[in-house]
């Protein structure tokens, strides 16, 4: 995928969260966004995922301009997947029904087709035993893995993952990161916001360091983590 973000600006009230952000990627499979909290990473990701509309600027995704009106954005959202920090599973539905809902009611599969489609990733990621549990009966790591399956079961062209491990303890974090590594091996395209730097280094084709609503540094993982000479970026990594 190729992303071209041009002069992207986002404000909430009087706060400018994205300040004319520019980012042009190569043809990558994975892009990781890093940087301090409140720097604008998640805001950028929500706009990329078609959940929010920026006040100014434009984004082209594989040469196509992201729309601004809600109807076209919904059509766009059907082609991508989003994973949230707090999982955002539907608590009244079983894990399996969380997967079937978009397959049946958004993508028009028959219940039998949807079931067949949902079972494959549940098995692959060892979640079959939990298919009939409600989210409250699952551990944090299981919830997030189900949420990732919900996002990818519709075969999106890109996954957007917003700090998927920030709410998890180290063991569950490992479990979710392992799943994302596997997705990388399977060829899934994704944009990931994370604070897990060693993981970012491992899976990122490109890394963008974002702070104060701008991209302060952008390049390959090695360029950003090992050879970057931007003082703000060096200072941030020095704390790790």
């Amino acid at each position: 995928m190729r992303l071209d973000v041009h002069s992207l600006t986002q404000r909430f009230g009087n706060t400018t969260v994205l300040d004319g952000l520019h980012l042009t990627t190569g043809d990558v499979q994975s892009l990781v966004l890093v940087g301090p909290s409140g720097g604008g990473k998640s805001t950028l990701l929500r706009i990329l995922a078609g959940l929010d509309v920026p006040v100014a600027g434009r984004i082209t995704f594989d040469g196509t301009l992201l729309p601004n009106d809600e109807t076209a954005l919904r059509a766009y959202r059907k082609t991508v997947g989003t994973v949230f920090q707090a999982y955002n599973l539907f608590p009244h539905l079983s894990a399996l029904d969380n997967l079937l809902l978009p397959l049946i009611h958004v993508h028009g599969l028959s219940p039998a087709q949807a079931l067949a489609r949902a079972q494959e990733p549940l098995e692959r990621f060892q979640l079959s035993a939990h298919a009939h549990k409600r989210p409250a009966e699952l551990s944090g790591g299981q919830k997030q893995r189900i949420a990732i399956v919900r996002a990818m079961v519709v075969q999106p062209r890109c996954l957007f993952l917003d700090e998927p491990t920030s709410a998890l303890d180290p063991e569950m974090t490992a479990e979710v990161l392992e799943m994302i590594s596997e997705l990388k091996l399977l060829g899934t395209h994704f944009v990931l916001v994370t604070h897990e730097m060693s993981f970012a280094k491992r899976v990122a084709d490109e890394v963008a360091f974002i702070d104060d609503g701008r991209v302060l540094a952008h390049g390959s993982a090695a360029e950003i983590f090992d050879r970057c000479d931007v003082p703000r970026v060096k200072a941030f990594f020095a704390f790790l």
Binding site: A49, L51, R74, R77, K78, G81, T82, F84, A86, N88, L89, F90, P91, H92, L101, P102, H105, V106, H107, R134, A136, E137, R150, A151, V154
Partner: protein, 244 residues
């Protein structure tokens, strides 16, 4: 102790206390006089059942519409909802009935007492329902709507598959309470001379001068209506039960 046994025990203790209180009152019972008028009780009770069912449906409908008005981003629509809710909740049902029947209904030429009664009662109860529904909708976290949008659900699908199933569970207990109130509030329709349960009991009392014998069946008659409502609500609640 099982739950059922506990209930039976508590009911028995209450009944004993009430029986004790009655036994201390110097009162000559005349059930025979009231028994003569049993047909009036049955007819009045059936009228109350009809009134309540009609008002139950109408007030749910009015409450849903008003809840949407309260949620509206259009200032005018929101104002209509807000003024309706505050006006109705802030004034006595008795006054609403009198004005509704003698002023508004007669001004528009609506003479059917039953229809006017059900309408006023439904508007009254609907205002409370509106706030219950609005609260239920507002209690669904914003993140749920985010997730629904992310998977590509339309606003209508979001309401149907994500918001309503979760809101129903939240509003069931207060809605059941409101419906129980509605059944009992229907007794006020006696003031516009609808021949419902309470009016019939009052008439039997004035014919027989047997006050307790006229009003005790009234209490039992309302319980026969309200207890199943509470039971239904608990059953539905159990069906919608899930941890969050």
């Amino acid at each position: 102790m099982s739950r059922r046994l506990a209930h039976i025990l508590v009911v028995a203790v209450f009944a004993a206390l009430i029986a004790l209180a009655f036994s201390r009152v110097d009162y000559t019972w005349n059930w025979a006089g009231v028994w003569e008028y049993r047909q009036k009780f049955v007819q009045g009770w059936l009228t109350t059942v009809g009134l309540s069912l009609a008002a139950l449906l109408a007030s749910s409908l009015i409450g849903s519409v008003a809840a949407l008005l309260l949620q509206s981003s259009q200032p005018l629509l929101e104002a209509v909802g807000r003024v309706y809710v505050e006006l109705i909740r802030g004034t006595p049902l008795l006054v609403q009935l009198l004005i509704g029947f003698y002023v508004i209904a007669s001004a528009v030429g609506l003479e059917n007492r039953f229809v006017v009664g059900v309408l006023v009662l439904s508007l009254f109860s609907g205002a409370y329902m509106a706030e219950i529904f609005r609260g239920g909708l507002a209690a669904i976290p914003k993140t749920q709507i985010d997730a629904a949008r992310a998977i590509g659900l339309s606003p209508l699908q979001t309401l149907r598959f994500v918001i309503l199933p979760q809101a129903v569970r939240l509003v069931l207990p207060p809605v059941a309470g409101q419906l129980v109130s509605l059944v009992k509030d229907s007794s006020l329709l006696s003031v516009i001379a609808i021949s419902e349960f309470t009016l019939n009991a009052q008439e039997v009392n004035s014919f027989t001068y047997s006050t307790l014998e006229s009003y005790l069946p009234l209490a039992v008659g309302y319980l026969i209506l309200t207890l199943p409502l509470s039971a239904l609500s608990r059953w539905l609640e159990a069906r919608f039960l899930y941890e969050t």
